[in-house]
């Protein structure tokens, strides 16, 4: 290990829930000798090895993870009262143990939002976001082959803003943080990333209406502009996209 690392002894307060309809509860575990250079998910792996070795009756803790480099949107832990933990602009997999101190008690919970029912322990069902995408988060018009780079002029600010919106990885931290369980930041990012570009504008009205209708149908809450979603978004997606979604939705309905 590199110079300067420390070892941490920690108490973990982890939500355990056997299944979707089971009664869940917090359980406490201790993990020792965790390097400050380890990632948070590596620490969870160490905990799970420990639980397997000791034949814990609840078994290893179920939690979502995939790429472990902050781009897939799978990891979804609520750590010490914040989505993705105590650091800003990162996903859980990018969180490192150097953010914690020896002797700390860390509370680890799943996303708690009506739209994301718990599957097991810290895993939640986020297929609702997939359903919203399926409702209209795509371009169905033929865009042809790969065009010349300058064939469709796109102003740089528009391209930048579309890219900022496209940074959304659909992790669900927005709805999980929102006191209203609203998915507006996610939906607005997906509407914005296409509405700003010529290829996506053709279907902007249909897209905005279909995605909002699906979001409402799935029982997500109404946005009250608290801005908590933006602050907890690991990709810093701005709530200005929510204003654009409102505009797009209003325009689409007026056109009817």
């Amino acid at each position: 290990m590199a110079e300067g690392h420390k070892s941490l002894n920690l108490t973990l307060k982890v939500w355990r829930q056997a299944g979707r309809n089971a009664q869940g509860q917090f359980k406490e575990y201790t993990v020792s000798n965790i390097s400050t250079e380890a990632s948070f998910l590596e620490m969870m792996d160490i905990l799970n090895e420990q639980l397997i070795e000791t034949a814990d009756p609840d078994g290893p803790v179920a939690f979502d993870h995939d790429c472990r480099e902050g781009i897939c949107g799978m990891c979804s832990l609520f750590i010490n009262g914040r989505a993705h933990g105590p650091d800003d602009d990162i996903t859980t997999c990018q969180l490192h143990m150097r953010k914690f101190n020896d002797g700390d008690k860390i509370t680890i919970e799943p996303w708690r939002s009506g739209g994301f029912p718990i599957i097991k322990d810290l895993m939640v069902d986020r297929t609702a976001y997939d359903k919203i995408m399926q409702a209209g988060g795509f371009v169905s018009v033929s865009t042809g082959g790969v065009p010349d780079a300058n064939a469709i002029p796109i102003p740089k600010p528009d391209a930048d803003e579309a890219m900022d919106a496209a940074a959304c990885i659909g992790c669900g931290a927005c709805a999980a943080t929102c006191k209203n369980g609203s998915a507006m930041l996610f939906v607005s990012a997906k509407v914005s990333q296409l509405a700003l570009l010529p290829q996506g504008k053709a279907e902007a009205a249909r897209r905005a209406k279909a995605m909002v209708a699906k979001m409402d149908e799935l029982g997500f809450g109404n946005c009250t502009n608290t801005g908590a979603c933006e602050l907890e978004c690991p990709k810093s997606v701005s709530i200005s996209h929510i204003a654009r979604l409102n505009r797009e939705f209003l325009k689409a309905n007026i056109k009817d």
Partner: protein, 223 residues
């Protein structure tokens, strides 16, 4: 537009339009109150001008309707949002700095505003416009003697305290509601969000400051 007002954004649009309408009314009301500070006589002329004329009654009816829509939609949205949040709550939630306290408590603040409004209507509207309409007689002051009613109620310290607390609640409610209404209307972007928040704070402070000034001037000049 089919189903528009049943959608989440449609309901929020009703909140924003009715909210902006009520804010405009507050600006008008505050301007009237400033007249009361300058001259009680002039204020009574305004009261007389409004009185129970058809335009004042129509305005009051529209205002009441706007308030009712705002209240009903706020209740619907709050119930839906509580349901959407689910039954399980986090063991603890530490929101980062930057989330306005008022934005998280708009319904509670609205409830305080509503209770204050009932008291305010019982103090003034019931003794002025309503008394004139209902033909009530034998009241302490005339139905168009608004200045006398102001001086009477705000010479009592407890009314001053209640109204100032009420104004603080309205300040918080408006400070979020003002910029949030523009955001819901889509009249906002990354450049304008901080600008609207700044305008919101200044506008709300000026309006509510005007109301507070009326109360305080009446209290300190009471004979």
């Amino acid at each position: 537009m089919k189903g528009f007002f049943k959608s989440s954004i449609g309901k929020k649009l009703v909140m924003s339009i009715t909210g902006l309408f009520l804010i405009l009314f507050l600006l008008f009301h505050m301007s009237m109150n400033i007249v009361a500070i300058i001259s009680g006589e002039a204020y009574n002329k305004v009261c007389e001008f409004l009185g129970t004329n058809w335009y004042a009654l129509a305005g009051t009816a529209v205002l009441a309707l706007g308030f009712l829509f705002h209240l009903v939609y706020a209740t619907i949205l709050t119930i839906q949002n509580r349901k959407a949040r689910g039954n399980d709550r986090y063991d603890n939630q530490n929101l980062p700095a930057g989330v306005e306290w008022s934005s998280k408590n708009m319904f509670v603040l609205g409830a305080i505003v509503f209770v204050g409004l009932i008291l305010h209507l019982s103090h003034f509207w019931s003794k002025m416009m309503f008394a004139e309409l209902a033909g009530c007689e034998g009241l302490q002051f005339g139905a168009t003697d608004g200045a006398a009613w102001i001086n009477y109620y705000f010479s009592q310290w407890y009314n001053v305290v209640i109204y100032l607390v009420w104004f603080v609640a309205i300040w918080f409610h408006l400070n979020h509601g003002f910029w949030s209404a523009f955001h819901t209307l889509g009249a906002s972007n990354s450049k304008w969000i901080p600008r609207l928040k700044c305008i919101s704070t200044w506008f709300t402070s000026i309006v509510m400051g005007g109301f507070a000034l009326t109360v305080l001037v009446a209290f300190f000049t009471a004979k």
